[in-house]
């Protein structure tokens, strides 16, 4: 009480100023950050079809094109594999390839990717064996690769839970003096989870070298963005944590790549995290188990087809004379080769050893598990004899 009176009495009003009872801010208060530079663009950044595209490196444009074609083919092939029962499930990224690829190609080899369950394509674009990337979805093992070897965390099924991991890894790398950046991918629905909030907050407070990449594809299964958030945009959420928010056209591969490359560079030089929201659309249903006609109109899908990422880039490349019929054919053929190989390898039944169930539960198998393993061994032997 005493100190309160004392404090208020020390507020000096200049002569002739407003009356002494005029509300003044609490003495300790001062704005920490100017929010203006943190605010996202008024409109999603576009490069294709604008003058800015002139600055883009033709080699990069062609690389992105080849990867988009391959990515689309990967999506259609994996979707076909679910119909043949070769995959338990496949969450397609058809229509979102520019996000998956633009983002993956923004990373250096030493960087880390933290994908969600939908981001198989980003992992493949980063160089992961397409079959290894599908293990989770085929159902033979949860993660088909060594995350350390590829610097790709396991595809995360529980939403947003991988985001704090990305923060922790990036923070650890920085503590060790490595200039490694973590790219953490999440869907629009995932931004509602508490883990999203906690990850962004930690990253900003620690100035961790992380880039948060939200693919806003319009829906979380059936729930449209309007029921997910009342924020002006998902990128706006960044401001509250004290990091910049960026808004980009997620179907413009060049824009996505550019924004992500900038955010990665910023993180690498110690500038802290960025939240990027890409505006895109999920052309296919959520998964093969989903009936999208229950919650969205066909017309909406068609509108987005006209804004297809491949179409946008192809138009640009053709107009600039970088792509002709031969180039298109070459890209399509390369994609077809990848698809044929994927088909063939996925059509072979994986050789599974049920005893693996006990192999990786602990570093050293417990007596309890050895006993259960023996039980299964006996069952399998009996099965074999029968």
């Amino acid at each position: 009480m005493d100190s309160l009176q004392q404090r208020s009495s020390t507020v000096q009003e200049p002569p002739g100023a407003a009356p002494a009872h005029r509300p003044t801010p609490p003495p300790a208060w001062q704005p920490r950050t100017d929010p203006a530079p943190l605010l996202p663009e008024a409109e999603p950044l576009r490069v294709l079809g604008t003058e800015a595209v002139a600055d883009a490196d033709p080699a990069l444009l062609l690389r992105l094109y080849a990867e988009l074609i391959r990515g689309r083919r990967y999506n259609t092939q994996a979707t076909a594999l679910t119909k043949q029962g070769r995959l338990a499930v496949y969450p397609s990224t058809t229509g979102q390839e520019a996000c998956e690829i633009g983002a993956a190609l923004a990373l250096e080899e030493r960087d880390w990717l933290f994908p969600s369950y939908r981001d198989t394509l980003a992992a493949v674009a980063r160089g992961l064996d397409p079959v290894q990337a599908l293990t989770l979805l085929r159902g033979d093992w949860h993660t088909g690769y060594d995350p350390r070897e590829h610097r790709i965390a396991p595809l995360s099924t529980p939403l947003a839970t991988q985001l704090p991991h990305a923060v922790g890894l990036a923070h650890a790398a920085r503590l060790k003096g490595d200039d490694v950046v973590a790219l953490a991918m999440v869907g629009d629905g995932g931004t509602s989870e508490g883990d999203f909030h906690e990850a962004l907050n930690f990253a900003a407070v620690w100035k961790a070298p992380v880039v948060f990449f939200v693919q806003n594809n319009g829906f979380a299964i059936s729930v449209p963005l309007a029921k997910q958030t009342a924020a002006p945009s998902l990128a706006h959420k960044a401001v509250g944590y004290g990091m910049p928010g960026r808004l980009v056209d997620g179907n413009d591969a060049v824009a996505v790549h550019q924004v992500l490359t900038e955010a990665v560079a910023r993180a690498r030089r110690g500038g802290g995290p960025t939240l990027v929201e890409a505006i895109t659309y999920r052309i296919d249903a959520h998964t093969n188990a989903d009936d999208a006609t229950r919650y969205r109109a066909a017309g909406e899908v068609e509108t987005w087809r006209a804004h297809d990422p491949i179409l946008l880039l192809e138009r640009e490349l053709t107009e600039r004379g970088l792509l002709d019929e031969d180039g298109r054919r070459a890209a399509a053929e390369a994609a077809e080769t990848m698809a044929a190989e994927l088909r063939e390898r996925m059509n072979a039944d994986p050789v599974l050893d049920p005893m693996d169930l006990f192999s990786h539960v602990y570093a050293e198998q417990t007596a309890q598990l050895r006993e259960q393993a023996a039980q299964l061994r006996a069952e399998l032997d009996a099965e074999g004899e029968a």
Partner: protein
Amino acid sequence: MTTATTGTAAARAAGAAGKPKPATMAQALQRAMRDAMAEDPTVHVMGEDVGTLGGVFRVTDGLAKEFGEDRCTDTPLAEAGILGAAVGMAMYGLRPVVEMQFDAFAYPAFEQLLSHVAKMRNRTRGAMPMPIVIRVPYGGGIGGVEHHSDSSEAYYMATPGLHVVTPATVEDAYGLLRAAIASDDPVVFLEPKRLYWSKSDWSPEAPAPVEPIGKAVVRRRGTGATLITYGPSVPVCLEAAEAAQAEGWDLEVIDLRSLVPFDDETVCASVRRTGRAVVVHESTGFAGPGAEIAARVMERCFHHLEAPVLRVAGFDIPYPPPMLERHHLPGVDRVLDAVARLQWEAQS
């Protein structure tokens, strides 16, 4: 809120004339929510995709259309938020029925569940009940990828203040869910997802009378040994009992229906008659539900037992990928092996 079927008495009489049509467990659950919502305006359904889509398993199909989005609400994607909001709604007199989309996606809500839902009545000396139903599709056997097949019942059972129930039949799906919604305490309602499409000639016009939570039921009479089970393992045990018949074993099968409270009376009456018992469930065995059940039976029926109470459970491993799940889930053979081991005197 004690007699959950009152409003359907007339309907039952009317429906008795017509032939019951086969209904699935998912439909019976939907019907239970619908009837509860029609009778009581304080009942609210909410969760991810429960509205327009009708839930990923279609269990809430049509509720938003019939009762409006304020009564059947698509929430933002946040389990802690869903359950936390339900706490506040219950504090203000509503009866929320929340859906957790899959077993392993309920974990973000555990803080709310353990710290608030389960404890509110106790913390407030009874002033603030929590009539919340938490519907959780659980268990494996549907070929789901990781995080879609957990059996989390032991976590719930270990938390005082929660009821934990799980139906194994279409009839019980309706009756138990009505009872859960009518309960003035929080109920974790575990829905065996591999039984969602199981059918019965149950008629929504003539639902079986709703019994209060806490009663087990004898699904099959027998004299040789008691199989104590629940949820997805009930059909497995019934099949095992049929198979055992051929080998001269006459097995009794008890469907617990309610894990908390636990029906010691029905279980012990059976074990005292048969002298032998096997607990069967697909969740892991170590510190699993069977550990508690076996201990209770041992404590209460020791002098009647001819053999130790055995457990048949999933292995003590994280839920395996779909291509290997059949090796993990206790099937008929594993149950029969345990029954064979009940010939204790012969062995020792």
